[in-house]
Subunit: 241 residues, 2 copies
C-alpha cells in the first residue's frame, strides 16, 4: 500500500521535507491533495481532517497515512519514515541525533516564516510590512548566520564524512538542510549568499544533495512545486539586503 502524504497542494511548505525523503528513497507514495487535481485533492484532505472518528487528529498538514497509522508534525513524520526509507542510522543514539538536527531545522523554518508574518498568520503580509522589515533584519544579521554556522560545525565534527550531517550515508536531515538552504536562497538571496560564503560545508552539502540522481530527477519534474509567494519561503526584495 503506498504512503499517503497530505499537504497543501500549491506550496512546497513543510510538506516538502517529507516529499524529498519519499523521493530520495524512491518510495511508493501518493500526494493526496494533488489528486486528481488540486481542487478535488484539497477537498479529500479537508474531509479527512474533519472526520470526527479520527482518533489521532492532525493539528495541521502535513500528515502521513501509512495504513492505519496517521502521523502529523514534519519532524515526527520523518522520525517515523527514517528507518523505513533507510534515511536514518540504525542505532538509537544516531537516530536521536538525526532527529535533533531536524528539530533545529524546524526552528529556523518557523523563524523564516515569521519574517513575513511576525504579527500573525491570519493577517496579510501587507498588513505587517513594517514589523516584517524589522524582524527580517534581525533574521538576516543574526539568525541565518547563527544557524548555518551551527550546521557547519556539525559537518566539520562528523568524523565519517564532511558531506553528510550524520555518519557516512544520506539521512533525512541532509535532505532537509538542502531544502532549508534552497528556501533561504530563494527568499533572502543576498543575505544567504553572504552566510554561505562562511559555511562552505553547508554550501557543498546543498549542491551534493541537488545532484543525487533521484533528487535531481524530482527537482526537474512537475512534482516539484516552484517557490512562490504563498509558501514559507517568500521573496520580498525589501526584506533582503
Amino acid at each position: 500500500m503506498p504512503y499517503e502524504l497530505y499537504y497543501w497542494p500549491m506550496i512546497q511548505g513543510r510538506g516538502e521535507f517529507v516529499r524529498l525523503a519519499l523521493e530520495e528513497a524512491g518510495a511508493d507514495y501518493v500526494d493526496i491533495a494533488r489528486e486528481p487535481d488540486d481542487e478535488a485533492g484539497m477537498e479529500t484532505m479537508m474531509g479527512f481532517m474533519g472526520d470526527k472518528n479520527l482518533r489521532h487528529p492532525p493539528f495541521a498538514p502535513p500528515f502521513l497515512k501509512d495504513g492505519d497509522v496517521v502521523v502529523a508534525q514534519t519532524a515526527a513524520i520523518l522520525l517515523y519514515l527514517g528507518p523505513r526509507l533507510n534515511l536514518a542510522p540504525e542505532d538509537e543514539a544516531g537516530r536521536i541525533w538525526t532527529h535533533q538536527i531536524q528539530l533545529t531545522i524546524a526552528d529556523i523554518v518557523a523563524e523564516a516564516h515569521d519574517t513575513h508574518h511576525p504579527v500573525g498568520v491570519g493577517l496579510y503580509y501587507e498588513d505587517q510590512k513594517a514589523e516584517a522589515a524589522r524582524r527580517s533584519e534581525d533574521f538576516r544579521k543574526s539568525r541565518i548566520p547563527k544557524y548555518l554556522s551551527w550546521f557547519e560545525t556539525v559537518l566539520e565534527r562528523n568524523t565519517s564524512s564532511k558531506t553528510h550531517l550524520v555518519g557516512r550515508a544520506v539521512t533525512y536531515a541532509d535532505l532537509s538542510l538542502f531544502q532549508l538552504v534552497d528556501g533561504l536562497t530563494y527568499a533572502f538571496p543576498k543575505a544567504t549568499k553572504r552566510a554561505l560564503a562562511k559555511t562552505p560545508h553547508v554550501a557543498a552539502l546543498h549542491e551534493a544533495v541537488a545532484r543525487r540522481p533521484r533528487i535531481a530527477a524530482y527537482l526537474a519534474s512537475d512534482r516539484r512545486i516552484p517557490f512562490n509567494q504563498e509558501g514559507i519561503f517568500r521573496h520580498y526584495p525589501e526584506l533582503d539586503g
Copy 2:
C-alpha cells in the same frame, strides 16, 4: 550515574518540560547549571557547550547528558527519556503520537515566546512593544483557542481516559500540557481563563497533574523556579485582555 540536565538556571523555560518528566519519574538527576550555585553552574554549562571536542554540539540549552549520550532539543530529550522513565507508551504508534502532541506543544510555546519578542530575540521587550501588542492580540484571540481546542479534541477522543492525552497512563505529553497551561495562565490570565472555560478536559488535566504527589512536591519545593519576566511565559498586563 544520574542524568545531567543543562539549562539556564534562572528560568523555567524549555528546561521545565524536562524537569517535570524527571521529577514525575523520581529520576536521579542533577540540574547542572544550578550547582553549587547559579554562577558556577552557568560557567560549567557554557564550558561544556564551548568544548570543541563535542561531537554532537547542542544548538542551545536545554540538553541532557546520559553517560556518553548528549541530547538537545526539548522534544528530542523527552523522546529519549520517555521509555526510560516509563512516561511513554510501549508501542511505536503510541510513542510517535505522544511525540506528535509534544511537538504541537513546542509550537505554541514558541509562539508564546514571540508574543513578547515578535521582532527578535536579541532586542529588549521595550524595543518591540508596539509589535508585541499586535502579535499578542492575534495570539490571544486566535492561537490560544485554536491550540487548546485541539488538545481538548485529543482528550475527548482518547477512548481509554479523559484525563490523559495518550492511553490510560501519564506520559510526558500530559506533564508538558500542564506546563503550557500553567505558563499561559501566568502570562495571559484573562485570555487563558476564557479559553479554558471552553476546554474543560484541558483544565481538568492541568489540575490533575498538579495533584500528582511527586509533581505537587516538586511545585512546592525550591527546585521549581517561579515564573518571572526572563522566561518564555511573561506577564505584561498590557498584552493580556
